[in-house]
Every structure is written in structure tokens, then in C-alpha cells.
């Protein structure tokens, strides 16, 4: 009888314990999260921007706002954590042809920034051209910028009041194909970079970059509003291809062009 009582009690305690364990192991029904999208959400508008004749006051013709644009470069120091960075003080968006490769006595843009078009939804209609004046590279160290950089980059020193688009001082890019980026709102740009560097003659290298469109927006005062938009181009090239030798900086140079336009 005693054994029976013990057994009964044991069975009862087991049942109670197991029930408790089962209850504590039961999961509550949780709402199944919504399925993730299979790809990025890409929305493109239908904006088209053309420079036209860059007529002042024509809101359909877009002008490069150089004062609010920049072309920056950066590269790694060999064996160091920091980056060497700089910018080009003089640049533009013009396809500089051979006949235009000369010096200009002006403080402003030597040639019109009109060699580009942008179509938000149809990249086949988009093209860009651009140039920089190599000797205007500005790292914030005048001793370097006007000193060793001049010879290291195979160019000549700045002559005050002169814009030098000569063959030794000009690096230019030209897009050859623009495609939609399937993974973002951006565009994949195939472009050619032409630069002499320290070589005997300019060479052209084909590169791939990424173009971002910063959508058109209205800014300015209420009395005189105007529209702006931006294009940001990023690409990388190997400076050794252009004869640039250095034991202190990397061979890869990252370029970032931030171009702002307005229709004032």
C-alpha cells in the first residue's frame, strides 16, 4: 500500500512537473514578419537636365555652379593609417578638344561647362565630360602643392591669372556608356580617363565609376526661387599607369566629383 502511495505520488509529481515544463516550452504565436523585398526599392523619375547655351535667366538651361562644386582625390599613405587627400581648384565640365588645349588669360572658367546631359530614366541619353587642371591640386600644403607635386605629376607651375588647359596640365574624363545600376538608384558609368602624367604623351584608360543623381529641388528666396540638382561621380584609377611613381603613396587614387547645377 505504501509503495502504491509512493508510486501514485511520484506519478502525480511527474505529471505536474512535465506539464509545467511543456507549458513553459510552448511558444506564443508570434506574427510572422512581412517578407523582405527581394531587391532594393528603386524609384527613378523622369527629370532631364541639359546645359543648352547656359543662357543666364533661362530656367530650362542648367549651369554648373562651380563655386559649390568640387573635385576631390584621396589615396592611402603606404604603411600608414591616414589618407592623403586633396582637391583640384580648377575644373570644369567641357570636352576639351585638341584645339582648346592651350592657356587662357582669365580668372573664370576658360571654356563653357556644356559638354554633358543627364536623363534620369534613360541613361543612353546621359553623357558627361570633365577636366581638371593638374597643377591646381590643393592638399593644403603650399610647399607640396607648388613644390614637389608639380614635378611628380609632370606638369608646370601655376601662372597667376592664367588657366592652363595645356596637354601637360590637363586630365579629362569622357563617359562612353551610362547604365542603370540594378542595385540602387545610381548609374554605372564607363568612362575614359586621358592624362599625360609623367609619360611622353597622354594615354587613355577605361574605368568604371558610379554616378549618383541628387534630385532637383527648389531653393533660394521666396521672391527669387531657383532649382538645383547634383551629380556625384566616384571612380578610381591607378596612378602608376600614368607614370606617377612614389614610395610613400598608394597606386590607387580615388576621385570624387561633386557637381552642383542651377537654372538661374
Amino acid at each position: 500500500m505504501k509503495t502504491f502511495n509512493n508510486k501514485t505520488l511520484m506519478i502525480f509529481l511527474f505529471i505536474v512537473s512535465v506539464t509545467g515544463y511543456i507549458a513553459s516550452c510552448t511558444n506564443e504565436n508570434e506574427a510572422i514578419p512581412l517578407a523582405a523585398t527581394t531587391g532594393p526599392v528603386i524609384t527613378r523619375g523622369s527629370n532631364t537636365h541639359l546645359p543648352g547655351n547656359m543662357t543666364v535667366g533661362n530656367s530650362n538651361e542648367w549651369k554648373l555652379d562651380k563655386a559649390h562644386s568640387n573635385v576631390m582625390w584621396s589615396t592611402s599613405y603606404v604603411g600608414a593609417a591616414g589618407l592623403l587627400t586633396g582637391r583640384f581648384n580648377q575644373f570644369g565640365m567641357h570636352e576639351v578638344i585638341d584645339a582648346e588645349m592651350t592657356t587662357y588669360s582669365t580668372a573664370g572658367q576658360p571654356v563653357k561647362d556644356n559638354s554633358w546631359e543627364f536623363n534620369e530614366s534613360d541613361p543612353t541619353k546621359t553623357f558627361i565630360n570633365g577636366y581638371v587642371q593638374i597643377n591646381t591640386s590643393n592638399t593644403g600644403e603650399p610647399g607640396r602643392d607648388a613644390g614637389c607635386n608639380i614635378s611628380a605629376l609632370g606638369t608646370t607651375a601655376i601662372i597667376s591669372g592664367t588657366q592652363n588647359l595645356g596637354i601637360t596640365n590637363l586630365a579629362k574624363i569622357k563617359s562612353t556608356e551610362v547604365k542603370l545600376d540594378p542595385l540602387s538608384n545610381d548609374y554605372i558609368v564607363t568612362l575614359s580617363l586621358t592624362w599625360k602624367g609623367t609619360l611622353g604623351a597622354p594615354i587613355t584608360k577605361t574605368l568604371v565609376g558610379k554616378l549618383k543623381y541628387i534630385k532637383r529641388a527648389t531653393v533660394g528666396t521666396t521672391a527669387a526661387p531657383y532649382d538645383v540638382f547634383g551629380l556625384q561621380l566616384k571612380f578610381q584609377f591607378n596612378c602608376r599607369d600614368f607614370g606617377i611613381t612614389s614610395t610613400s603613396i598608394s597606386d590607387k587614387i580615388d576621385i570624387e566629383c561633386n557637381m552642383n547645377f542651377n537654372n538661374k
Binding site: 505520488l9 509529481l13 505536474v16 509545467g20 507549458a23 506564443e28
Partner: protein
């Protein structure tokens, strides 16, 4: 936060110390019944169960004493009757009481019923809190380990002492 929270905590302390004893008790008695053990060894096991339970009670008393501080008043104890009931387990050190192992089982079943009550209240409520159910079972696990541990320690101690006596 009112005192009901502290009352609940003190109830959990009791459950942590005593609720595991009934299952340990019946399993050990059942196991000893299954093997051909000598009757006096079975009786010794039973008494060890009571002593083990008394040890658990002493540990519980230690917890209560540890919480004493200057100006401590009995009003701080939210469940005076239950706490007192738990402390009563110390009396199983008394050999005369320890021989009546059924009493220790009855004593622990009172605390075990608290666990059952807590679980049932959660499971039959309109909005059961599964985390509380899980927590109760975790505490029950700890109690099982504690009671098995105290019993094992005393059993080991008994063997060691018997060996010394024989020598």
C-alpha cells in the same frame, strides 16, 4: 511598485528552496524499493532525506538571516506565515522528527502547491505570461538540483563517516 512584488519574490524564494523536495523524495524511495536494499539502509536513506530537507531549511534560514540589517522589522517579511513555515524545516534536524519522513514530505508539498497554484493561475488566465511560467520552471529546476545536492552531500558524508568508524 507595491509590496505585492516583494511578496511574490519571497514566495519564489520559498519555491526555490522547498518545491523540488517532493519529487526527489518519491524518486529516491521508489528507487530504493526497486533494489534489494537492506531495511535499515532504506530507513537510513529516509532519515537522510529528512536531514537533507533540514539542511535546505537551514540554508533558507541563512538567507533570511542574511537579509537582516539594523532596524529590520518583521513587517519587512511580506509572507510571515509562509516564511515561518519554511523556517520550520530546520526542526527536521531533530532525530525524532527526522524519522517521520512523511512529515517532511507534507511540509514540502505545501510549498509545492504554491508552485502549482502559480502555474495554474498563469495558464488559466486570459492573458498568460509565458515568461512567468518559464521562470517558475527554472526555479523548480534549481530547487530539484538543490535538494538532490543536499541529499547527495549528506549521503556522501555518511559513507565517509561510516568508513572512518569502521577503521
Amino acid at each position: 511598485m507595491d509590496n505585492s512584488f516583494f511578496a511574490y519574490i519571497q514566495e519564489l524564494e520559498l519555491i526555490a528552496f522547498f518545491s523540488g523536495f517532493p519529487l526527489i523524495y518519491v524518486v529516491i524511495l521508489f528507487a530504493s524499493g526497486c533494489f534489494n536494499l537492506k531495511q535499515d539502509f532504506k530507513d537510513r536513506l529516509k532519515q537522510l532525506l529528512s536531514f537533507g530537507y533540514a539542511l535546505v531549511g537551514t540554508l533558507y534560514l541563512g538567507l533570511i538571516v542574511r537579509n537582516l540589517y539594523p532596524g529590520y522589522s518583521l513587517e519587512t517579511i511580506q509572507n510571515p506565515y509562509l516564511t515561518g513555515w519554511g523556517i520550520l524545516a530546520v526542526f527536521f534536524w531533530i532525530p525524532a522528527l527526522s524519522k517521520k519522513t512523511m512529515i517532511s514530505l507534507m511540509h514540502s508539498l505545501v510549498i509545492f502547491s504554491l508552485l502549482v497554484k502559480n502555474q495554474l493561475m498563469q495558464l488559466i488566465s486570459n492573458s498568460p505570461d509565458i515568461n512567468m511560467v518559464r521562470n517558475n520552471m527554472k526555479i523548480y529546476n534549481i530547487s530539484l538540483i538543490l535538494n538532490l545536492g543536499t541529499f547527495s552531500c549528506l549521503l556522501l558524508l555518511t559513507f565517509v563517516l561510516n568508513n572512518f568508524k569502521k577503521r
